[in-house]
Homo-oligomer: 343 residues x 2
DNA sequence: ATCCTTTTTGAAAGCGCTTTCACAGAGCTG
DNA sequence: CAGCTCTGTGAAAGCGCTTTCAAAAAGGAT
């Protein structure tokens, strides 16, 4: 029923290899022949069968994105950047959501076997070595977004700088007791690489150091996840340790939002009683008036997608990793604006 | 280099058809033979080549989801529901984001030709008839989420009821001048089906009618998109038409958030000066304390995915469409809680 | 043991492309 | 005009599975 390359060949009075040649813009086809074939294609409304082509070329024209949570605004925004680029490049995008460290294993296990995609972008973590090796054996390039790993092409921001900027800002407003909430220091499945949360803490500590304030581990808490609930819980812990914090720097906007909610519940006014700064600059941040460190999330995705497509074409990519800039976005969760206006 | 079915067959001393049979759990293989084959598979670390299998079976084990914006929290949440179900069913999910009515055409054009997916879920709109026909010819089932279309299996909520509930709530709090902001009455490419925004308006008007309040078209505005910016702009229009609104019902939470922002900018207090109710109950709504009509977004996705997989297996689905319940979630953007507490 | 069913099994034919390889012609050279 | 190199083209061989079809093996009944 469906029209195949044979039908076209017959209609044009040529062999199938010739049809294939014009299909693939392969040179060495006489202009007149090419024309005849094109006409036959048009007349029959022929569309090459992708499955057959895939088998023959042994690729799938698809790149996979593996992320932990489709609930994470950060990851979804990176995904957006990836999607835009890929769509334009004519590649399909299939998503793999892990949701738990356990599912991550089985997912990568499956993924690294059959050729379900020609390239892979993983967001916010590093696959274990054995998976990386397997991908390499299959010639499936993988690039990481939002995570720095020397072994693999990765695109990321300078998280130390980000943490530094945030803390510096708070310091500049006169805060001295500044808490820090991160997601976690170690990844759930310990596979190496630089944890963004830990890097941001480095920046935080560095700023503190420069200001001559000794680092106090009691001012740091882990939320585990980037969620409002966990953020609120961590804030509760931190705020009830007996230290009198005047500000909290959170490793992500979601955590920061949780902090704000907890503060609101406790009757603490922001920024008067507690200053808060987040990280990421997700859409919600602007609604909430949250001062934050902006990462170019879409651009991160775009770059990752671009690199992976290069790699897929077998090109040696020299600039194997790529660092994007961060930027402090001042809104009103720290009173900075109010302060300025008062002058 | 990679091990094929032939290698396994040779190793097990059987024909490839037998290997294929054990692979596909096809009965009629003697227990002993099956065992031998399984052992060979194990020993060689054989994994069937998906591409070959796909060509042979002419399917791709993938369902496509086409949505308009990856930026829409609503759509992403539906996507989540889809993803969860599909992952569990062992199907891949590839996403197609349209971003504009024009891209929608070309996207569906491509999609409806080659077999890039075995089934399709489209969110929040109806493809034009010609595409539907093409999909039908290729036996690619399509189901719609968040949109009701008699021609195709669809899962949706009772939007009229939702609009009614929201308005009734406002009415119950004593509001008489209630504005309504919807996205649009007609879809950008006019392909039929029931626009949710229009349905919600019906519910709004019905509630008004029951309360004996004449419908005033000057209290209705269109935002065009479900975004905060557009919502704020629409609120501005509405609030400056000279009618003294005390409440606004928005066709989505994003729009409602925009309304809140505009109000905040204008120094209107919520809920004291202006009550706002939204629709969807996206995560942001709870942060913002927005009273809203909740749709089971994830569940919507799940159902759509379930239906499409049935259809893919060639099963005749009787319950071709499915309506999910809505529910009013009262928070504090209408003063309802405050009112209750005062009693 | 013989004949007739059932199971099991392997050879071979697809699935619809891409790609290799060899062969016509065409175009040059000497 | 023989000899050679190119260019354009088709036949055929994959790609690695699934699936048909017919034959072989295994049971059962007599």
């Amino acid at each position: 029923m469906p029209v195949t390359i044979y039908d076209v060949a017959k209609a044009a009075g040529v062999g199938i290899s010739t049809v294939s040649r014009v299909l693939n813009e392969n040179s060495n086809v006489r202009e007149e022949t090419r024309h005849r074939v094109l006409e036959a294609i048009e007349a029959l409304g022929y569309k090459p069968n992708i499955l057959a082509r895939n088998l023959s070329r042994s690729h799938v024209q698809t790149v996979g994105v593996v992320l932990s949570y489709l609930t994470s605004p950060f990851q979804v925004t990176v995904l957006q950047g990836i999607e835009r680029f890929l769509a334009q490049a004519g590649l399909d995008l299939t998503i793999f959501s892990m949701e738990s460290p356990k599912r991550q294993e089985t997912l990568l296990e499956n993924l690294s076997h059959g050729r379900r995609c020609d390239g892979l972008i993983v967001i916010s973590f590093t696959p274990q070595e054995r998976f990386l090796q397997r991908f390499q054996r299959y010639h499936i390039p993988v690039v990481i977004a939002d995570f720095r790993d020397e072994r693999i092409p990765s695109v990321f921001v300078d998280n130390v700088e980000g943490g530094y900027l945030a803390t510096k800002h708070l310091l500049g407003l006169g805060h001295r007791k500044i808490g820090y909430i991160l997601d976690h220091t170690e990844p759930p499945n310990g596979s190496g690489g630089n944890e963004p949360g830990a890097d941001r803490q480095r920046g935080y500590q560095q700023a503190l150091l420069e200001a001559g304030i000794p680092f106090d581990p009691r001012l740091v808490a882990e939320s585990g996840l980037h969620s409002r609930q966990r953020g609120a819980a961590a804030a509760e812990v931190l705020l009830n340790r007996g230290e009198l914090l005047t500000a909290i720097f959170a490793a992500s906007d979601m955590i920061a939002l949780g902090v704000m909610e907890y503060a609101r519940k406790k009757g603490l006014r922001i920024p008067d009683d507690l200053a808060v700064v987040g990280f990421d600059d997700i859409e919600l941040a602007s609604f909430a008036g949250l001062t934050t460190v902006r990462q170019p999330m879409q651009e991160m995705g775009r770059q990752a997608a671009e690199i992976v497509t290069w790699l897929m074409q077998g090109e040696k990519v020299l600039r194997t990793s790529c660092q994007l800039p961060v930027e402090l976005v001042v809104r009103d969760s720290c009173g900075a604006l109010a302060l300025l206006e008062r002058r």
